[in-house]
């Protein structure tokens, strides 16, 4: 390929990403320093042309002060990080043995098993959450079955609480945990495991001292693929959570669509990005090199 073609191959996607991925974040930063107004669009200009022809720069930190003044925002951040961390851990607990079992199955069956993990990922996210609503509702399938079987006298409160939010997140993001771990295990040199066994190492010890250190990159990639989006999740807390489920993605949605306070929503976005910056950078660092779905 000639130099001109190479330049074009990089320049076109690069320009697109700069314009529609990076520039928007700069604009969010700008608007987070604006004053909220009742106009259209509902924020005051940050730069204003003065009567003398000069440009006045009028930053305001009122949006950030609002975030600090109300404990609700802080609680929402804590709530999101807690839910995301717990869900990531549960995903790891379920995903690691699944990936291990797939990697150890016969090569002919492996492709089918991987495809079965990926299939739910290809089906609508919203519909998978909806399927859980039908299961967990007080009059849902699970409760109806439990009452009919006489196991409980009245429906269990399975939905509209933090339990349902965790369940929904684990369910929706599990494939993102299984696939990177599987990819790491598949590339692994299994003769090392055999060597450990030949030398008399117990299987559980082999797993923790040989297998896990060799697939930790898959586990780290999977954990980041679950943790970061889960921390900003809106749909699952909105549909499965209760009124007291405080997660920052939902607060941002409310601030923007219901309260129409754009500077506050922008400041929340900046705060979210700062909190998630480290995990995002870690993911970028390892991200492009590792294979993903």
């Amino acid at each position: 390929m000639s130099g001109r073609h190479r330049t074009l191959a990089i320049a076109a996607p690069f320009a697109w990403m700069l314009a529609f991925s990076l520039a928007p974040l700069a604009i969010v930063l700008k608007i987070s320093f604006s004053e909220a107004t009742a106009e259209r669009p509902p924020y005051a200009p940050l730069f204003e042309m003065g009567a003398d022809g000069g440009i006045a720069f009028q930053p305001s930190i009122s949006a950030y002060l609002l975030l600090l003044s109300d404990g609700l925002y802080f609680d929402a951040f804590l709530g999101s990080l807690r839910v995301a961390a717990v869900s990531t851990f549960v995903c790891l607990l379920i995903g690691l043995p699944m990936a291990y079992a797939i990697a150890r199955s016969s090569p002919q069956r492996r492709n089918l098993l991987v495809m079965l993990v990926m299939l739910p990922f290809w089906t609508s996210f919203l519909i998978r959450v909806y399927a859980w609503m039908a299961l967990l509702k007080p009059t849902g399938i699970l409760n109806n079955a439990l009452v009919w079987l006489g196991i409980v006298d009245e429906p269990l409160p399975l939905m509209n609480n933090d339990f349902a939010v965790h369940l929904g997140i684990v369910y929706s993001y599990l494939p993102f945990m299984v696939l990177p771990i599987y990819a790491a295990l598949e590339k692994m040199d299994w003769t090392l495991v055999e060597a450990a066994a030949d030398l008399g190492c117990r299987p559980s010890r082999t797993f923790f001292t040989v297998t896990m250190p060799l697939c930790w990159q898959g586990m780290a990639a999977g954990s980041l693929l679950v943790f970061i989006p889960a921390a900003g999740e809106f749909v699952i807390p909105d549909l499965l959570g209760g009124p007291d489920t405080l997660m920052v993605g939902r607060v941002l949605w409310t601030e923007f669509f219901i309260n129409r306070d754009w500077p506050a929503a922008a400041a929340l976005t900046i705060a979210m990005l700062s909190v998630l910056l480290l995990p995002i950078l870690a993911f970028q660092h390892m991200g492009v090199e590792a294979d993903r779905p």
Binding site: L8, I27, W122, L252, G287
Partner: protein, 269 residues
Amino acid sequence: MTAARAGFPRILLGLGYAFLYAPIALLVIYSFNESRLVTVWGGFSTRWYGEVLANERIADAAWLSLSIAAMSATVAVLLGTPAGFALARFGRFSGRAVFAGLLAAPLVMPEVITGLSLLLLFVGLEESIGWPRERGMATIVIAHVSFTMPYVAIVVQARLAGFDRNLEEAALDLGARPLAVLRSITLPLTAPAIVAGWLLSFTLSFDDLVIASFVTGPGATTLPMLIFSSVRLGLSPQINALATMMLVAVSLCLVVAAWTMSRRKPLSL
């Protein structure tokens, strides 16, 4: 490893698949429920399918979503394929780290952040240069390309990293011009990845609720938005039927895709 030890992960695997598929299976079963009460079985019926097919709002939203998904998948492939080439083949060009970082970020970026930031960009552009005058299909397509293109780039990059470069070098040694090599060797070998990337982008776009909700305007209601507003009010037998139809459509597409890919296998030796 003894049989009992090997059995343990296998049982967990079975439970894992049951966990992944049971809710979907129940959703499908209850879509044939006669009763308006979605979770109380009232006999077999296909009436809700008839109601979905007769519902014009659903048809309009589905058509809009399909058009948006087809357009954004196509643009994402046009931009993402060269990006994948650049990552796999161009070595250490200047700005590679920034380029790779920009492509990795959308894979994990929370949707609310992508949605809000793109909307603020569109509003800012409208204020300063008068475009886009109206938000809707075009702004949703732009937003979807931005978050699906990285997936195409990664699939293409992985494919290029996995196949034998000697084929191309042999052709060059035998005097083929670089563009001819690209057309007759590299692109055919990359084709399965491009198809997979297109399908992936299409699915991601068709599925997206949050980003589209931010960047849409009056009059442009996609299928996920319609489903979301209905689901928020509670369960509905029509949604069960619609969901089942979408599941069947996606499964059929995947079977066709898997079949075409397996047919192409001899090429990728």
